[in-house]
Structure formats: C-alpha cells, structure tokens
C-alpha cells in the first residue's frame, strides 16, 4: 500500500481506529465536550467525541451548539490542543536537597516518554507544534523533558471542514488541510472518513483496519469540502511576513487605541499554541531541606515579564501589546524563519474584550 493511498472508514467503525491505537500501546488523547467547550483528554470510546456538535466563535465569543448531524469533527479548535501536553503549563525542572555540612545536591527531573496518540488534531496545531519544536529542541540546548514527551507520539489529524468565523489559517498557509506532520489524516464526510497515511506507522494502522478504497465520489466530496473550508474564511492577514510593516510602525496611534481596550489579562498568550514564554519559580518544602525548581507559563502581558533591576522595560499595556504583536508576526521571522501565527483564531475568541489580531494588524500596517 503506497502512502498516497486513500481508504474509507465508515463512521460506525471509528472505534476500530481507537482500538488499533490502544492495542499498540498508545493512550489516545482526543476532543470531548466539557463545560460547554471542546477540550483534549484521554479518550477510549468514539462516543466520547463531540458527536453532533458545532461551535460558534467570534471576538470574545465561544459557544457549542447541537448541529443536528452525526459528525464528530464539525467544529473548529477549542482553547487548547497539543501544546499543554508537550509544554505543560507547570512543570518541575529539577530539585535541590540540602545535605550535611551545607552541601547542595541537584537532581534534574526526567520525563519518561509516553506513547500518546492525538486524535483529531488540526493543521494549525501541527504547524504550531513544529514551531515549538524549534524553540525547545533545535538549538544548542535541547530541552530534555520536551524531547522525551515528543518521542513517542502518533497524530491522527483531521482536515478542518467547519472553520470558525475566527479562523484564518488559509492566510497564514497552515491550514485548513493538514499537509504534513501527521501519521494519519482524516477527512470527515457525512457517513464516514477518508483516510490516508503520512508515515509508515500510519500506513500500518490503516492496513490493519482492512478498509475499502475510496470511491471517486468520496474523493470528489473531500476536494469540494476542502475548497469550501478555504473560501469560508473571512479573516486574513495582509501578508505572511509583516516584520517590516510592523517595525516601521512602532509609534502608530493604534497601539494606544488597543491599549485602551486591552486588560493585559494574558488570555491570548495562554491559548496561543505557539507562545512559549515561561517563568521559573521555586517551591521549597516546609522543613527547608529540599526545594523544587519549576517552570510555569508566563505571558508578555504580566508586569513581571520585563522586570530588570527594579524597573519594567514595558511598564504600560501599549508596549506589552506591541511586544506581543511585533514578536508574533514580526521578529519571530528573525528568530524562527517564519511568523509565529498559525491562524488558529484562539486569541480572538478567548479575549474577554474581543480584540481581533487581524483587525489590529490591518489598522497598524494599513497606510
């Protein structure tokens, strides 16, 4: 079976895919509805997936609804997907213990690789993961914890069929179809899934399911759905490289206007799948004989982020919002060779005051 081979998985047999992965030793992590939102967590039954759900998203808005169909992936991303697994919100790095005569013993924490299969991840999140791989792995100091967690992963991607109003991955070039980074990719149709493999491991799982080849009508439907998902996206960015456009406008009055609305709550950075800032903290035991050194997600919107010698480099919200945007869409190119935005739209939906990155960029780089 060649890698480009496509097969059809009827919806009622979706469980066999989960079973095949579980049998191979993977813990499946997939989408499910919790507290009115799609979240990723351990899943063993296909009935746990968000069957028949659809999402309504807009600036500062996220709502799930019953869609009146049986599809499992007819929604766009919720607040989180892969990032919290590879780069946990809070993680011990090492501990130190006091020994005799005042000695200190340091012990690095080691993360054991766990075989995890991600079900239903989207193109934007695979692209975001590649960006984070770049931050944590591709330098002179690879992060051993991140490396261990990324070792034994399996990705079942889903091509987005129902982008939200906030999505603009077509403009960043990261979606709505997954083109790489997956082991298996699904396109969901009304009665099942068109499958293809991206790796030998994916191919082996697909072969084990003993599926029929896709019909020309099914292939046609997948193509049409893909095109519709692109044309359904109304938001976009003026260009994929806004570095100069932003850095030439560092004193634009729009920064003041957005600072009037922004609460500096940091929600945008918490939900962004590429934001990697973290702070290091220390947690000593009560008796003082041991202490744990941790890292926690941090945000360029916090007051402490730019603290140095009793001063803040970015003391006001204007400079913090500017830091966020000029880094994400501008200086990111210098550091990582691409923009830091994959067009997932999360920062738009989860901003409590509905600040829209695409609107701000358009205003700042406009004329």
């Amino acid at each position: 079976m060649a890698l480009a081979d496509t097969r059809f998985l009827p919806r009622e047999r979706f469980q066999t895919l989960l079973d095949a992965l579980i049998e191979r030793g993977f813990r499946c992590v997939g989408p499910q509805v919790r507290d009115g939102a799609v979240v990723y967590d351990t899943v063993t039954r296909s009935s746990e997936l968000p069957v028949g759900k659809h999402d309504m998203q807009g600036p500062g808005t996220y709502r799930l609804e019953d869609a009146g169909h049986e599809r499992m992936f007819a929604w766009a991303n919720g607040a989180q997907a892969i990032k919290p697994h590879l780069f946990p919100a809070r993680e011990p790095l090492w501990s130190a213990e006091r020994g005799g005569a005042g000695s200190i013993e340091f012990t690095p924490h080691s993360a054991a690789p766990e075989a995890v299969a991600f079900i239903g991840v989207r193109a934007c999140d695979l692209a975001a993961m590649q960006i984070q791989d770049h931050v944590f792995l591709h330098g002179p100091y690879p992060d051993p914890g991140y490396a261990a967690r990324s070792e034994a992963l399996f990705f079942v991607a889903v091509n987005c069929s129902h982008p939200a109003a906030t999505c603009f991955c077509a403009a960043t070039g990261d979606g709505p179809a997954a083109t790489h980074g997956y082991d298996l990719v699904l396109s969901e149709l009304d009665n099942g899934f068109v499958l293809s493999a991206g790796t030998e491991a994916g191919n082996a799982v697909m072969a084990q399911l003993e599926l029929d080849a896709t019909t020309p009508a099914q292939t046609q439907a997948v193509v049409a759905q893909g095109e519709a998902s692109i044309s359904a996206q109304t938001r976009s960015l003026p260009s994929r490289d806004l570095r100069d456009a932003l850095f030439n406008n560092l004193e634009h009055p729009r920064w003041d206007a957005v600072a009037e609305r922004c609460l500096a709550c940091g929600n945008c950075t918490m939900v962004c799948p590429t934001c990697f800032c973290h702070a290091e903290t220390e947690e000593p035991t009560l008796d003082g004989h041991a202490t744990t050194h941790l890292r926690e997600w941090d945000s360029c919107f916090t007051t402490g982020h730019s603290y140095i010698h009793g001063l803040q480099v970015r003391a006001d919200i204007r400079t913090r919002y500017r830091q966020w945007l000029t880094h994400k869409l501008g200086s990111w190119h210098d550091q990582f060779g691409r923009s830091g935005c994959v067009g997932c739209g999360r920062c738009i939906s989860w901003c409590p005051v509905g600040i829209d990155i695409t609107e701000e960029v358009a205003a700042i780089t406009g004329d």
Partner: protein, 277 residues
Amino acid sequence: MQHPYTPYAAEVVDRIQESRSVFTLRLRFCDPQVQARYRFAPGQFNMVYLYGVGEVAISIVSDPEDEQLLDHTIRAVGRVTRGLAELKPGDRLGIRGPFGRGWPLTAAEGSDVLLVTGGLGCAPLVSVINYIMRRRRRYGRLTVMQGVKHSDDLIFRGRLERWRNVPNTQLILAADQAAPLWPWHVGYVTELLGDIQIAPKHTHAMMCGPEGMMRVVIRELEQRALPDDAMFLSMERNMQCAVGHCGHCQYGGRFVCKDGPVFPYSEVKELFGVKGL
C-alpha cells in the same frame, strides 16, 4: 550533555564588600571535574542560584585563564541578590553556565580600546579591563571612562588607581554627585567624550550601562566616524532560562541570553533607542 536547566553546586571561597550595596563572590565548583572543564570568555554570564529562592544572571569578572576561581560582582537589588549578599565563605550555591556571547577581545587585539560604563553597570567591563591589563602589550591605547551616580558608588577604586599608572592607559571618572575631595569630574561621564582621542579605524569601543547613556555615547562616536561594527554594547533584559527558551530576554529578533549579551551596535541599531522593547 549537561541538563540545560540544572545548576552545579559551588562553594563561596571569599566574599569582598566593594561598596555599600555591591559585593564580589569568589566561587569554586564543588566537583573538581566540573571546575576543570569550565571555560568562559569575558562578557559571558552565569546563572547564579540561591538555594530555595531562585536564579539570577550575573556576569563573570574573573580572568578566563584563572582555572581555580570564578568571581561574580553583584549588586544587592532583588530577592536573589539580597540573599546572595548574606552568604559567607564556606556557603554553597548553584552555578549554571557560562552563557551568551562575550566581548570581541580577540578581534580587538592590536587596536585601541575604549571602554565606557555608566550607572552601576560596570561589572561586565571590569572583566575586560582585567583581561587587557594581563595582556597589556597585545592592545593599543586603553581608555576607561566610568560614570557613577554618586562618588561613593565607585567600586574597584584601588584597582582603578593602579591601572591609571599603566603606560598608554587613560582613566576618566565622573560622578553625578560627588563627596568632598572627589578629584574627578562632577557630572555625566559622557560630557567628557569630546576630550578623548579616537582613531576611528583602529578602535574598538565597548560599553555597558543604562541604554540612555549608551545612546549618547554611540551618537558621539558616530560623529567621530567610528563604524557601527566597532562599537559593542552589553544589553540587559530579564533572564530566566539563559538558553533561549523562556522568552524573557527577547529584544526584537534576538535573545539577549544566547545572541548577546554583547552585541555589535550594527546588530541592534534598528531598534536601539525605541523605548519599551
């Protein structure tokens, strides 16, 4: 390979009070193998860890060829540094490093060197003075310009006085406010830039201190025709990981921790001077 986030234990061998709030810790790794392996270049820094409190980035002021000891000159301003100030000989702490890019001391061999420091940011350049003094013949004219807020903040006074008498070496000091009998300039050190000799084709300028001061120095040196890539500055930003992961030290498209802390001005020119980056 070393776990990038975990320090090695080190012992305080000596502690020297330099001024009211500035002190030097002389350190040695507890593990002799770690000590033997350790190499650094002037201008690089270590993450110094105080047990149970946290880490702070501190530049290394000792000589890179001193294989026994590692000096850090520290100002007590924050939680970690105030705690470090309490340490005594025999106490232990953690060291992780060295990190970053240091001063261009090899490239500067054979040329004049101009050092300008201001505020309390002199520690990163002390390593340069030490380095050049020990290899004095490899360098041309050395001009050291140091500004302090108050004359009482001047550290290494004894050493400075000694350096004054070395041939082909000029020392210029200034204090914004001075105690009686201060023999030097009262005012900003940058006011004296006009008085010094500069051979624009044969000079490496290295500076550290407040960005506002460095801007004034750069403007003056530009007027004196010193090229952008002959001016070097040590940048300071919040640093937590030191390895380009935590994002705190971002400066435009650079991480100060791994791309700096020393930058040729040509690399940061585009943004240098914009407030809040």
